[in-house]
Assembly symmetry: C2
Homo-oligomer: 474 residues x 2
């Protein structure tokens, strides 16, 4: 490994190769659950350097672990075993010219999402990916994890926003798939396969991203919903009456509101009444001629007449709109500040969300009486972050963490959903995948991994169980 | 093979196994360019029968070639060599209950697209895939070819409309990925990989499809455009001012109009003037409160003031709307009736469509002076069917077919596009892929094929060059 250290120092230069204490800040994942000591941190400045780095690591048999903004929640961006190379593309931050007529832009993988939003600024185009971590999440990491976020029901996940990719493969060869078209059926959909592969099949160095027209009108409301059933029924009605305008359809529950109001400063709840669930509705349109307020008010009125919506307010200013969003966006932080927690990233078909919530509650109560349930998330795509806090006064979950994960994941699966909706598998959910997905599916993934990274140097231990990976190589 | 014949007859029963002359109507592809003599045609009635069939074929080493409606243009649905088994799922035609609140439906692969449209009828939901062949194209074939069609810019291609899949693999094992959620990041995006794999990785037997809200308002216009540049500029303006409403943005050229008017009966051209290009614009909205006519008229007026649009009409009735669409939809038929032709399925970034058209013309003229150029297609996603007829009076293309394909494909590639936009590779474009795509890309595809179908029995000779496939197995 001393040889590899010297080789990488030579390939990457002093700014591009950090070892010893310089590497410390890269070592652990965001939740501080994973991360063995790396050999060092590579910070290449070009695709060519990535290519040479990978070729050297392959010869040395060293693991390569790509790390974007290190905001992932499943431990995919740090080393599973000591001696791997953490690969940061934070120096590859070019943003190409915006293709206004075509609606695309080419970016390097190290671009931080928020900077892309700012760069597009007044171009008339947006990149419609928004999530809590956008101030540090990088394009490469967003692609690697196939990020979802709050607007996925309308605009899709990262795989739907990636037109083309450049990827460096395990042997250092470079796949140039930097095309800028939606329609490209010249063989297997490689660009889709690399999205969500969490760096286990190749290192994404550049991407051509699809842009959408910037909105010219907006209407935002915060609502009280009578129940989870009401949430689902009202969501379906909104989708039917305002389908293409639904930019956000975000829900949280009364416990979540309590935790935010209790644990964060400077947050007010603007409605007069409380309710089991709250829904943030945001409509946007690319034409200023669309009467969004009127459309929203009509659906609201119908929802109130049917008893689904019990209270609500339309944002009367940009400040109020941001305040509404903050109530939703601070849900994770409100709960984090409450103390130890369990996070579950579940999806179910949107029409079955109420059933999931109804059946998950007694399931959790049976495992650990009094456990506090805090479901919130994205109603449009059925993605619920079904997070738990211990019973009031209890210090922790009494060792039941994995049981909660398995039983909630199984319930989601039975309803046609997923136990890993938008956060990925990483290292954290391999055991869950082994428990909840069939052998045929896991074998397919193992075959793909073994075919594209036969030496198993790319982010080993992530997505594919290492035991399975070895079986498929032999 | 006599053994296999008997085995399949036993597995599938008399209605499920056709051989001899009964198989004749399945043998050749739609354009009658491909198709060796099959051993027979399998028409299984269940996933279990598909599974047993594949296991038997694998033991016998027989090729299995899935065939949907047999409307593909690249020869993927017929045998490359004699003795293969054509697999039709035309007896698997169940359509499950529509999940109205969630917006999805489970269907079997043999369902004809048009029947799905009819079944959804007045449900308030649509499956937004429309193409010329919808009266015979089956869901399985649409998934296998990752079909695009006229609404792809808005709603996506098949891979964007497939939430879950059931796939029978080469060894007869069944992957149950019949989930109904958009967000499922539990590992590699297998559902996306099987879309567009043209039956070379597995046999799709069932799918959960995403549905969208049915439109409640519509505005349709037929326009004269001053040039290809005007087409691009006007398309960008429409996208900016009416982005989420653009349901169709279909163009054709003056030669194409000539051919339709000359070769088909009962078609009138409703505008007073002619132009280099025509554009069919259709806006739809899920809310009846959107003033679509007004939005469209405002963009039209601006386009006329800028000299982009030289004439046009808004459809005043459903009959007129259908007449506008027919002018676009009959473009392939108008040219087919003219005699021999060359079809090219190109995509370029939408903003570069004018440049492609400007540069393709002299390129074609240099290959064969007088050749008639008939570009038409989907402006929203840059997909141009750049089809050719021989020079007036000339019988054919004087042996230059492949040269046209390579040079037009190369030009599209240089502009960031694809030589195989929505029709796929099949058998017809393997040589083109070898000429136009890099070794790394082709090797990646070969590795995936070898990993998932190591014996190479699934549609051999399609997508992956058989020589490459053999290299990756060894």
């Amino acid at each position: 490994m001393a040889d590899l250290d010297a080789t990488l120092a030579e390939i990457l230069g002093p700014r591009g190769w950090l070892s010893g204490s310089e590497a410390d800040s890269y070592r652990r994942d965001w939740l501080d659950r994973y991360g063995a000591e790396p050999l060092g941190v590579a910070r290449p400045a070009s695709t060519d350097e990535v290519s040479r780095l990978l070729a050297a690591c392959r010869v040395a048999g060293a693991a390569v672990v790509p790390q974007g903004g290190n905001t992932g929640l499943c431990g995919a961006s740090v080393c599973g075993r000591a001696g791997g190379v953490i690969l940061s593309l934070a120096r590859m931050t070019a943003i190409g010219d915006v293709d206004g007529a075509g609606g695309s832009v080419e970016v390097e993988a190290g671009v931080v999402l928020d900077r892309l939003h700012q760069t597009l600024g007044s171009s008339g185009l947006i990149f419609p990916m928004h999530l809590g971590a956008e101030g540090s999440a990088q394009i490469g990491g967003l692609i690697g994890t196939n990020a979802g976020g709050s607007h996925a029901a309308r605009y899709g996940m990262m795989q739907d926003l990636v037109l083309g990719l450049e990827v460096v493969l395990a042997d250092g060869s470079v796949w140039n798939g930097l095309r800028g078209v939606q329609k490209d059926n010249a063989g297997y959909q490689l660009r889709r396969l690399f999205c969500g592969a969490e760096g286990t099949l190749g290192i994404v160095t550049k991407a051509v991203l699809r842009l959408h027209p910037a909105p010219k009108g907006r209407a935002t409301a915060l609502l009280c919903l009578a129940s989870a059933d009401a949430l689902v029924a009202f969501g379906a009605r909104l989708r039917s009456e305002a389908g293409e305008f639904v930019n956000g359809l975000e829900f949280f529950c009364d416990l979540g509101l309590d935790l935010v109001l209790k644990n964060l400063d400077g947050i007010d709840f603007p409605l007069e009444s409380r309710a089991p669930f709250y829904l943030l509705v945001e409509l946007t349109a690319s034409s200023a001629k669309v009467p969004l307020d009127e459309i929203l008010e009509e659906v609201l009125t119908a929802g109130m007449e049917e008893g689904l919506v019990t209270d609500g307010a339309l944002a009367q200013s940009e400040a109020q709109r941001l305040a509404f969003w903050r109530l939703r966006e601070e849900q994770p932080e409100g709960q984090r500040l409450e103390g130890t927690q369990l996070k579950h990233d579940i999806s179910v078909p949107p029409g079955k969300l109420a059933r999931f919530i109804a059946e998950a509650a007694p399931l959790c109560e049976a495992i650990l009486p009094g456990v506090r349930l805090n479901p919130f998330g994205h109603l449009g795509d059925g993605n619920v972050h079904y997070n738990l806090s211990p019973a009031a006064g209890a210090p922790d979950f009494a060792g039941h963490g994995q049981r909660f994960a398995v039983e909630l994941g199984r319930l989601a699966s039975e309803l046609g959903g997923s136990f890993a909706a938008e956060h990925g598998l990483g290292r954290a959910k391999i055991a869950l995948a082994n428990a909840l997905r069939g052998a045929v599916e896991r074998d397919l993934m193992g075959r793909i991994k073994a075919a594209i990274d036969p030496a198993g140097i790319l982010n080993p231990g992530v997505i594919v169980d290492p035991v399975l990976a070895r079986q498929n190589v032999s």
